[in-house]
């Protein structure tokens, strides 16, 4: 049995706290497992808050295209990549809602940073630390936090350990601080690597892809012919050749060749875990058409 900190269910916790503080009902649904019930809950909502993870942005846009839910006044994204490119659609769906990117990690409660959706055009920008939170990054860009709230606890050698207010805690993300004081995520520690001497961040590549590709995109690691680490970009649904060319043109304009994907593959849909995140193992195990191959 594995015990996980409650913050692993942050979207739920956030809504539960909001409902408690504002004396509202907490309306549990089965999410996208039952879209009709979710739609009805959104139609019935009055001055409601909805907290999601990033990957649910495109799902919302696809499931409820053209609909309007005026009863939602707060829309928080608190997990995974913030769906910045879906913002126009989310604005149409929830015209009264303030939309925010809430960043945190499993050990961080409540969250580490927050920014309004309009405050930055990059989904990787997570804004500034919340009051009581300090962030720092070392030479390797590993992002750490310290919180006056202390924290829950972390597994360490199979045991729980309380995190004190003076303890710096690694988030598992790499990040850089921008000149304006906000923080920009570079990816998880496993998502940033060197390829032929060039630093590669799959999070940054997904940021670039998102500028022109608004459907689903994900990456999985692979090696090139010489054994150098690389990654495969997966798009769902698979674009046509014109779409691939358009995307490659954008990639060429912004990234050195070493940062390009080894291949671009298509899928009908991306495999997902129950929590809505992309199932990385299934993604690499599945086969799909190769839309472009760098041949390196």
């Amino acid at each position: 049995m594995v015990a996980l900190p409650l913050s692993y269910s942050f979207a739920f916790v956030n809504q539960w706290v909001w409902a408690t503080v504002h004396e509202r009902k907490l309306i549990p649904t089965e999410g996208f497992r039952d879209p009709a019930a979710l739609r009805q809950a959104l139609v019935d909502a009055r001055d409601a808050m909805l907290c999601l993870v990033g990957v649910q942005g495109p799902l919302l846009a696809a499931a409820f295209e053209g609909e309007v839910f005026n009863g939602v006044i707060r829309l928080h994204f608190a997990g995974g990549r913030f769906p910045q490119e879906q913002l126009p659609t989310l604005r149409q769906l929830f015209p009264r809602a303030s939309i925010t990117n809430n960043y945190g990690c499993a050990e961080a409660m409540p969250r580490l940073t927050v920014r309004s959706a309009e405050a930055n055009e990059l989904s990787a920008n997570v804004g500034r630390p919340l009051p009581g939170i300090e962030l720092s990054a070392d030479d390797t860009q590993l992002l750490r936090f310290r919180s006056v709230y202390g924290a829950v606890a972390v597994f360490e050698g199979g045991r729980l350990r309380e995190i004190g207010t003076e303890d710096w805690v690694p988030t598992g993300d790499l990040a850089e601080q921008e000149d304006d004081g906000t923080w920009r995520l570079l990816g998880r520690t496993g998502e940033v690597f060197k390829r032929h001497g060039e630093k590669v961040s799959t999070a940054q590549m997904l940021e670039t892809v998102g500028q022109t590709w608004t459907a689903e995109a994900a990456t999985y690691p692979d090696e090139d012919r010489s054994g150098e680490p690389g990654y495969v970009l997966v798009l769902a649904p698979a674009p046509d050749q014109v779409g691939v060319r358009t995307l490659l043109r954008v990639i060429r304009s912004r990234h050195a060749r070493a940062q390009w994907p080894l291949r671009i593959e298509g899928r009908e849909t991306l495999p997902r875990l129950a929590n809505g995140k992309v199932d990385a193992a299934a993604l690499s195990a599945e086969e799909g058409p190769v839309l472009w191959d760098q041949r390196t």
């Binding site: 032929h196 060429r252 472009w292 041949r295």
Partner: protein, 80 residues
């Protein structure tokens, strides 16, 4: 598909070129995507498309598309 068409498709695919950028006069020095990895990619592509395995010296010695066309001609692959 004609050999020239195959070559153009390959160059567009390897160097992410647009139609307007294609031509024998296109030089390695003028193309940001024709770097060392681009050279590897081109060599693999030439073998895939034309069945000719370039030596490392041939691949790294190329200075232009025209040079590649000339090299392929010496190997019996006519690019009209």
């Amino acid at each position: 598909m004609a050999a020239r068409e195959k070559l153009n498709d390959l160059l567009m695919d390897v160097f992410l070129l647009d139609d307007g950028e294609l031509g024998d006069e296109l030089r390695r020095a003028d193309l940001d995507t024709w770097d060392s990895l681009g050279t590897v990619s081109l060599a693999v592509g030439v073998e895939e498309v034309f069945g000719y395995h370039m030596t490392p010296e041939e691949a790294t010695g190329l200075e232009s598309v025209g040079g590649l066309v000339a090299l392929l001609r010496t190997k019996g692959i006519e690019i009209e």
